[in-house]
C-alpha cells in the first residue's frame, strides 16, 4: 500500500469528471479567494490608518484643559482655560522624557493677498511645531524663537493655502494681510494630505502663539487650547504621559481623589483604538468569507458522497482483492483533500489578484500577508479532511459482498 498508488487513483478519479471536479473546487476557490481578498483589504486599511496616525507626529501627546461647569451645564472637555503658558514651560523644563512642547492657540481669519483671499483656521504655536508634527518646511523657513518672543507678524502657510493665495508664484517673502494686519510669509509646509477623518491637513496657517494672543485677538485674549508634546521615544512618551499628569495635578493643586482639570491623550492610544476598529472590520469581512468556504466544503462532501455511490462496485472489487477499510478511507480522503487543496491554491492566487486589482483601481493599499495565505490554506485543508471524512468513512464501512452486487 503506497501513497503513489493512492494519488494515481485519486487523480484519475478526479480527472474522469473534470467539469464536476472544477465546479466542486469552485466553492473552495471562491471561499479562499474571498478570505484572502477581504483580509488583505482590511489589513491594507489598517496600514493606511496607522501610517496616517504616524504622519500626525510620532510619539505625540496632546494635553487639553479640562471640563468647565457653567451654571451646572458641562461645557465639554477643553472649555476651561486651566492650561497656562507656565504649565507648558514647566512641562518642557521638568520632564526629562519630553523632547518638544508647544502650546496651541487657535484662531481663524481671512487671508488676503492682492485680489486673492482665503479663509483659514490659524494655529498659533511655537517654533517647535515642525519637530512635534514631523512636518517639514518645503519652501522658506519656519519662524524662530525670537519671532515667538516678540510676537512677530510672520506666517507659515499650508500647501493648500499657499496654492490658493499665490497661484503660480513663490509666496516666501511676500506680505499678506490677516485681519487687516500685514504678515510676512516665512515659509510653506510640505503637503501632508488628508487626515484620518478626511480633513485637508494642508488647509492651515501657522503663526507664533504669542502673535495670536497679542495681535490677532480682540477684546479677550484666547487661552491655550492645547499643548502638543512629543516624548524622546515611544516608551518616553508613555512615561511622559504619566509624568505630565502628575506635574499638572501638583501645579493645579488637585488633591488625591479629585478629578483632573485637564486631559492627556496619547496618539499611540488613538492609533491602538483605530487599529482595533480595523481589526474588527477585517475579522468581520474574513468571517463572512469563511462562511462561503464552509459552503464550499459542503459541496465537496456532496460530490464525494455521489462519487462513493457511483464507485460502490469498484470499492467492492478493491476490498475483495484485499484493500483494508482504512485504505479505502484514505483513498477517498485523499480525493477530497486534493479538491480542497487545489481549490485553495487557485483561490489564493485569485484572492491575491483581486486585492491587487482593488489597490490598483481604488488606490487603496492592500496587503496579502503570508499569515492570511497560510491560515486560509490550512483552513482549506481542514475543510477537505472534515467534509471528506464522512464520505470516506461511508466508503470504508461498505460490506464487500453488497458492494460487489451493487448495480
Amino acid at each position: 500500500m503506497n501513497l503513489i498508488a493512492i494519488l494515481k487513483v485519486a487523480m484519475r478519479a478526479l480527472g474522469r469528471n473534470k467539469m464536476r471536479s472544477a465546479l466542486t473546487m469552485l466553492g473552495i476557490i471562491i471561499g479562499v479567494g474571498a478570505v484572502i481578498a477581504m483580509v488583505s483589504i482590511g489589513q491594507g486599511a489598517q496600514q493606511m490608518v496607522s501610517s496616517q496616525i504616524n504622519s500626525m507626529g510620532s510619539n505625540m501627546l496632546y494635553v487639553q484643559p479640562g471640563n468647565m461647569m457653567q451654571g451646572g451645564a458641562s461645557m465639554g472637555m477643553g472649555a476651561a482655560s486651566t492650561l497656562t503658558e507656565e504649565d507648558v514651560v514647566a512641562i518642557q523644563r521638568e520632564i526629562p522624557t519630553v523632547a518638544h512642547v508647544s502650546p496651541v492657540v487657535r484662531s481663524s481669519g481671512q487671508l488676503v493677498f492682492g485680489n486673492q483671499n482665503w479663509f483659514v483656521q490659524i494655529q498659533g504655536t511655537n517654533d517647535q511645531f515642525p519637530e512635534i508634527r514631523s512636518w517639514k518646511v518645503q519652501e522658506g523657513d519656519f519662524f524662530n524663537e525670537a519671532d515667538v518672543q516678540s510676537a512677530s507678524r510672520v506666517i507659515v502657510l499650508g500647501r493648500t493655502v499657499a496654492d490658493k493665495l499665490f497661484p503660480g508664484m513663490d509666496p516666501v517673502g511676500q506680505t499678506i494681510r490677516v485681519r487687516n494686519l500685514p504678515f510676512r510669509v516665512a515659509g510653506v509646509l510640505e503637503a501632508k494630505g488628508q487626515s484620518m477623518v478626511g480633513q485637508d491637513q494642508d488647509d492651515t496657517a501657522i503663526v507664533p502663539y504669542t502673535t495670536v494672543q497679542r495681535k490677532l485677538a480682540g477684546r479677550t485674549i484666547p487661552a491655550i487650547g492645547q499643548a502638543m508634546v512629543t516624548g524622546v521615544s515611544e516608551t518616553g512618551s508613555k512615561l511622559a504621559e504619566k509624568q505630565i499628569a502628575d506635574l499638572l495635578r501638583q501645579r493645579h493643586k488637585i488633591g488625591a481623589g479629585e478629578s483632573d482639570d485637564f486631559m492627556v491623550r496619547n496618539m499611540a492610544d488613538v492609533a491602538a483604538t483605530s487599529a482595533q476598529l480595523t481589526t474588527i472590520m477585517t475579522l468581520l469581512l474574513g468571517s463572512i468569507a469563511a462562511i462561503s468556504l464552509i459552503v464550499g466544503g459542503i459541496g465537496i462532501m456532496n460530490i464525494m458522497l455521489v462519487s462513493v455511490t457511483e464507485r460502490t462496485r469498484e470499492i467492492g472489487i478493491r476490498m475483495a482483492v484485499g484493500a483494508r477499510p482504512n485504505y479505502i478511507r484514505l483513498q477517498f480522503l485523499t480525493e477530497s483533500l486534493m479538491l480542497s487543496l487545489l481549490g485553495g491554491l487557485i483561490g489564493i492566487l485569485i484572492g491575491a489578484g483581486i486585492s491587487r486589482g482593488i489597490s490598483g483601481v481604488l488606490g487603496w493599499p492592500t496587503l496579502v500577508s503570508s499569515l492570511s495565505v497560510f491560515v486560509s490554506f490550512a483552513f482549506a485543508t481542514a475543510i477537505g479532511i472534515f467534509f471528506g471524512y464522512y464520505p470516506a468513512h461511508k466508503a470504508a464501512a461498505l460490506d464487500p459482498i453488497e458492494a460487489l452486487r451493487y448495480e
Partner: protein, 269 residues
C-alpha cells in the same frame, strides 16, 4: 498522511501440505432481514484438499453463495469454524479478513469485476498494491500472470477494449498474481459463450494441473461442473451430495473438438 507500509500478513505456519486447505466445520449463517431471520447455512461442513478442483452446485437459495462468501473470507459464519490453510479465520475482523483475501484467496466473478478505466496490467497489479509489493516487482509478477492467461499483448488495454473472454482472463490473472492458496470462481462462465467458457475452464484446469492450485468453481451448468474432480451439491443450507467426478472432462480436448473460430473470437464484441 498516514500510510501503513508493513502490510505483510502473519499467516500461521506453512500447513498447506498437511492436507486440507479448506476445513469448514458445522457452520451456520443467519441473516437478519428486518424481523425475519434467514437461515442460509445449517451446519454445513466441507473439507477441500490442496490441489483439488471442486465444483459447487445447487439451486439459488441453497446456501452455496453464502458458503462461497465464507470460504472467500468476504463474510464470517454466525456459528462454526473455518480453517483456511490451517488458520482459524472465522473470528477475524474486517481488516484481518482483507489481508487474508489479499494473501490467500483469488476471486473470479461472473461479471468479471475489473476496475473500470484501468488497464489490464494495473487491474492485475491491484492485489500486489494492497500487499505492499514494490512497483518493479509488481510489474514483473503482473506480466507473468498475464502471460499465463495468454494476454501479454493486451496489457495496456482498458476493460472496455477487451472482449468478455479476455476480461475474464484478466480477472483470472489477477486472482493468481499473489500466489493464493485457493482460487474461488463464482459462475465464471455465466456471461460467456460455449467456446470462451471452455477456454476459461482450460485455463483453470491447466493452473490446477501444472501449479497444483486449489480451485473452487460455483456453477449452474453440469457441463462446467464436470471439468472438476469433485462435485458438491447444496440444498436448503446443507450439503446434499459430495461425489467425485467419474468421467472428468478435459477442456483442452473439448477445445480441439469444437469447430474452429470464425475470425478472432476474442474481438467479436
Amino acid at each position: 498522511m498516514i500510510v501503513d507500509t508493513g502490510r505483510k500478513v502473519n499467516i500461521a505456519g506453512p500447513q498447506e501440505d498437511s492436507g486440507a486447505v479448506i476445513r469448514v466445520e458445522r457452520v451456520h449463517k443467519i441473516y437478519k432481514m428486518g424481523d425475519v431471520e434467514v437461515h442460509a447455512l445449517h451446519g454445513a461442513s466441507l473439507s477441500v484438499n490442496r490441489g483439488e478442483f471442486v465444483s459447487i452446485m445447487g439451486p439459488s437459495g441453497s446456501g452455496k453463495s453464502t458458503m462461497m462468501n465464507i470460504i472467500g473470507c468476504l463474510d464470517r459464519p454466525t456459528k462454526g469454524q473455518y480453517f483456511l490453510a490451517g488458520q482459524d479465520v472465522s473470528k477475524l475482523n474486517k481488516a484481518q479478513l482483507a489481508d487474508i483475501r489479499n494473501q490467500r484467496v483469488g476471486f473470479v466473478f461472473q461479471s468479471f469485476n475489473l476496475v473500470p478505466r484501468t488497464s489490464a496490467l494495473e487491474n492485475v497489479e491491484l492485489p500486489l498494491v494492497y500487499a505492499g509489493v514494490g512497483s518493479s516487482e509488481r510489474l514483473r509478477r503482473a506480466r507473468e500472470a498475464l502471460a499465463i492467461v495468454g494476454l501479454s499483448d493486451r496489457e495496456r488495454n482498458m476493460p472496455n477494449q477487451l472482449s468478455g473472454g479476455q476480461q475474464q482472463r484478466v480477472a483470472i490473472a489477477r486472482s493468481l498474481v499473489n500466489h493464493p492458496s485457493i482460487i474461488l470462481a463464482d459462475e465464471p462462465t455465466g456471461a460467456l459463450d460455449t467456446r470462451t467458457s471452455t477456454e476459461v475452464m482450460e485455463i483453470f484446469q491447466r493452473l490446477n494441473r501444472e501449479r497444483s492450485l486449489t480451485i473452487i468453481v460455483v456453477t449452474h451448468e453440469p457441463d462446467i461442473a464436470d471439468y472438476g474432480t469433485r462435485i458438491v451439491s447444496f440444498r436448503d443450507g446443507r450439503i446434499k451430495r459430495d461425489v467425485p467426478v467419474e468421467s472428468r472432462r478435459d477442456a483442452a480436448a473439448v477445445l480441439r473438438e469444437l469447430p474452429p473460430p470464425g475470425e478472432d473470437e476474442d474481438d467479436e464484441q
